[in-house]
Symmetry: C2
Subunit: 233 residues, 2 copies
């Protein structure tokens, strides 16, 4: 997975607000995430040792996020596990969340591409209700497979600063608009809210619900909200 130079260029600047304003570092890339250039060869050619270390870091972080509570993974631990110094880590990533984001990036991008140009019902062509339902299926699938990373990357309010969230938001807003839902701007975040990683974790692991039940509940609710409405109030 971490073989396609996932972040050599500048995709760590995807919008997490560290604390108060003050644009982090490289505030180019205004696009949500989405920047479909398969393999641009990095601005100045990455040094071999740097690449090797980045891979080690990514691999170690992946492991840590998976094996321990992703929300309490620390830069120190990652550095130790990867066998590099902390400063080396900070050179590339400002915090654990951005490492999780880097690991998550390609998976999210994949879903995004399917949404934009894949086959229906996830891609264009189906009815808004069907697309919204398919979106929920895809998202719960993503959550199920990479929950630890999502917990590491998009917890709490950080979620809303993510480039990924901007993308999901745009998409859902469009679907709700097409479906004729009253106030799409206000509805969108309500529709997206159950996909917060904390909610999914609570349902799956505290409540013990199966993935299928969670997914089906969301699908049902998607259809109910965006489906043809035979005379609503």
């Amino acid at each position: 997975m971490a073989n396609g130079l996932p972040d050599s260029g500048g995709n760590r600047a995807n919008g997490r607000a560290p604390s108060e304003g003050a644009v982090p570092v490289g505030a180019d890339r205004e696009l949500p995430v989405l920047d479909l250039e398969p393999g641009r060869p990095a601005p100045v050619r990455e040094r071999a040792d740097a690449a090797r270390n980045r891979m080690r870091v990514l691999k170690a972080a992946e492991k840590l996020f998976a094996e321990t509570d992703a929300r309490h993974v620390t830069m120190d631990e990652i550095a130790k596990a990867a066998g590099v110094g902390r400063a080396t880590l900070y050179r590339r990533y400002p915090d654990p969340a951005s490492i999780a984001t880097a690991l998550l990036d390609e998976h999210e991008r994949q879903v995004q591409e399917h949404i934009l140009s894949g086959p229906p019902p996830l891609g264009p062509g189906a009815s808004p209700a069907d697309r919204l339902a398919a979106f929920h299926v895809a998202m719960t699938d993503l959550l199920e497979r990479h929950l630890h990373l999502v917990l590491g990357a998009e917890t709490g309010s950080a979620r809303f600063g993510t480039g990924a969230y901007r993308f999901w938001r745009l998409h859902v807003r469009m679907l709700l608009t097409e479906a004729g839902v009253p106030d799409p701007d206000a509805m969108t975040d309500a529709v997206l809210a159950p996909l917060a990683p904390e909610v999914y974790q609570f349902q799956r692991h505290t409540l013990g619900l199966s993935q299928a039940r969670v997914t089906e509940a969301l699908v049902w609710s998607a259809r109910r909200l965006a489906g043809h409405d035979p005379g609503r109030a």
Copy 2:
């Protein structure tokens, strides 16, 4: 507000899970929150200086939560602002969240009482759809008035450990069941998710939506989900 000895007895033990299991301190009180005994006079009589200090702490914390980002309020700041030592704070509250919880407690309790025995549509007597709609109105009202406290108390996954959440969950689950919604256990948390303080804050202050729009979107969606369904799938 903080005049009725809001927490002299033992309501700080309302279920926040600090990190990993290990029941905090006073694991009596298994009830959600709800413990309607107007003014039981505290186990052993609280010392006067203790009472005075607790009031000072509560007042200072309230101010801090309101004036600065509630999620970054620290025990140190509260102690300094209240003019007491840190250890004094720790004696009563394990972390800032539990202080926010204490401040929030009576407001939430009030809503809970209205739900249990107030007039319809919030209280018993109305249709499930109407009650769910009224619930959302009451909740957004609570969020609007005390967002800073909720952000301090129920952020991220902490929300789910709260006694309050258990109560809301029970109530919504019942309404959804009555309304004939398919899998209430899975639906409930999806319905509750948009009421997470981070979501509300994002809608109100990042997006700039009015309270009315947010509320109405939730009300619409509540009716849509729990309303009479002319032949659902």
